[in-house]
């Protein structure tokens, strides 16, 4: 599913955030990327999502070399990938329904189909009764579930999550991780970046550890 070949990424300070990494994740895997702050976890997620471009090396996702994609092709690639962030990244002045429907709206999906899909996914994440609420009326855990619902509404082949439980208490974190596990059980490859190695150990044996931009084990 994901292949990274000799990937190096450095920002303006010229210190590599990712330093000559080779990595392979198979289809349907549930993988954690762990490591301390500044280890390069978020950069790795951004690279797989083509939000950042590597300075050297090649990344292949679902048999597509995303490092050679033009800027016009990238949006179409992103429609096949779901992403979840620590800060949820949901639109505050739009309802839960509108937030979840967003990826379908922008590709011009018929309203009837949008409604059907949004209802299904909201029911699945347990937020159907809150479909008309604004994000500010929801708890942190609920807001993250909205973000997850939005990430999976297009049935992505790959779900990436960058510190998805970073803003949540242990109980809510556990609930969210269970949700990711359930998504993985439906066949979606899930890659989660987290600094919390214990949580990772509780949910998967596939753990990639990063330290100063290099694979540690």
């Amino acid at each position: 599913m994901i292949k990274l070949h000799r990937i190096t990424k450095y920002y303006e300070n010229k210190i590599p955030a990712i330093n000559d990494i080779n990595l392979s994740i198979r289809k349907g895997e549930f993988v954690f990327i762990t490591g301390p702050s500044g280890a390069g976890k978020s950069t790795l997620i951004k690279l797989i999502f083509s939000s950042e471009q590597p300075n050297t090396g090649e990344i292949v996702v679902n048999n597509e070399n995303i490092t050679r994609m033009s800027s016009k092709e990238i949006p179409y690639f992103r429609r096949k990938v779901g992403v979840v962030f620590q800060d949820f990244k949901i639109i505050q002045n739009r309802s839960v329904y509108d937030n979840v429907a967003f990826p379908l709206d922008i590709i011009g999906t018929r309203r009837k189909l949008v409604k059907k899909k949004v209802w299904q996914v909201l029911k699945w994440v347990g937020l159907l009764q809150k479909k008309d609420s604004l994000p500010s009326q929801l708890s942190g855990g609920e807001q993250q579930r909205v973000a997850i619902a939005r990430a999976i509404i297009n049935n992505p082949i790959l779900l990436l999550a960058d510190e998805p439980t970073g803003n949540l208490d242990p109980k809510l974190s556990f609930e969210i991780m269970k949700l990711f596990k359930a998504i993985n059980a439906r066949g979606t490859t899930v890659v989660i970046a987290t600094h919390d190695k214990n949580t990772a150990l509780n949910f998967s044996e596939n753990i990639i550890t990063l330290e100063r931009g290099k694979l540690a084990g």
Partner: protein, 301 residues
């Protein structure tokens, strides 16, 4: 799919305008002001051109004769004038007739002329020009030819007035263009900054749009629609304002102006000119948005 995308874009534009109402009103006011000035100048230029055209169509040349000429010499001049193909009609006006005409025109003040011992007015010819030669070049060409005839002391067709009018007309055009260009650039700047503010206010939404796979073009479309709406609405409102001013002027002031200058009517913009002003608004909105979005890194995929 296109209908759904269009619906999304339009709802995005509406929510954008609603949540930034003050910025939008400021932009609209500036554009309207620009177009009020622009349209007013346009209206002035159109009406003065029409007035000039009307004046030229009604022009006749007065040829004043030397007092010492006898009837034979006057007849020779008459015949010399008639040979010119530009002239349709030549009428001799004697000193006596000229004084009578002056007397008639001084209605109520004719006593002024009683104190004159002699008639100071010269004999003259009134020349009418054929319609196809009623333009400045032909008239001036004819004047040059007539001027060479012996016995003629002066020729008058309002040339000094026309020169002054042309000077004023030129000044008005240059002033209009200068102010227009200045206001156009100011409006571009205002639209461009308004769109920038809109982009900043929707920065999070744009980031999310990119995350979920929106194309750069699709993200930009609502901003272009907004810019175009600003331009069209601003120009349309300005046309309405200028039309109202025109109506008030046409009723109260211009009728007097028409009587004095002999024009038939004070014109408003025709359909072509009206559409051109709206198109200018559209172009202004489009260009302002283009300048604004080009410089923003928010749209980098």
């Amino acid at each position: 799919m296109i209908i759904n995308k269009t619906r999304y874009c339009l709802s995005s534009v509406i929510s954008n305008i609603q949540s930034n109402i003050l910025i939008n009103i400021t932009a609209l006011t500036t554009i309207t002001f620009t177009f009020v000035i622009f349209t007013t100048f346009l209206l002035l230029v159109i009406n003065l051109s029409e007035f000039k055209k009307n004046w030229i169509e009604r022009v006749h040349i007065l040829v004043y004769l030397n007092d010492s000429l006898n009837n034979d010499s006057i007849n020779i001049i008459n015949n010399s004038l008639k040979v010119h193909p530009e002239i349709s009609h030549v009428k001799f006006v004697s000193k006596k007739e000229a004084l009578k005409s002056l007397n008639d025109s001084l209605e109520g003040q004719d006593g002024i002329l009683e104190y004159l011992n002699t008639n100071p007015l010269p004999n003259s010819f009134e020349i009418n020009i054929k319609p196809e030669f009623l333009n400045i070049e032909s008239i001036e060409n004819l004047i040059n030819k007539i001027d060479k005839i012996k016995g003629i002391t002066d020729i008058e067709y309002g040339q000094k007035w026309l020169e002054r009018f042309n000077g004023f007309f030129y000044f008005l055009k240059i002033t209009g263009m200068t102010i227009g260009a200045f206001l156009f650039i100011s409006s571009l700047f205002i639209i461009s900054n308004t769109i920038k503010l809109m982009v900043y206010s929707r920065r999070d939404e744009i980031e999310i749009m990119k995350l979920v796979g929106s194309t750069g073009r699709f993200i930009k479309i609502p901003f272009y629609i907004e810019g175009i709406l600003h331009g069209i609405a601003g120009s349309a409102v300005s046309l309405l304002i200028v039309y109202l001013i025109y109506k008030i002027l046409a009723l109260n002031i211009v009728s007097g102006f028409n009587l004095y200058f002999g024009t038939n009517t004070f014109l408003f913009l025709n359909t072509y000119q009206f559409s051109s002003v709206i198109l200018c608004g559209l172009f202004l909105g489009l260009t302002g948005t283009f300048i604004s979005l080009k410089s923003l890194k928010e749209f980098k995929i």
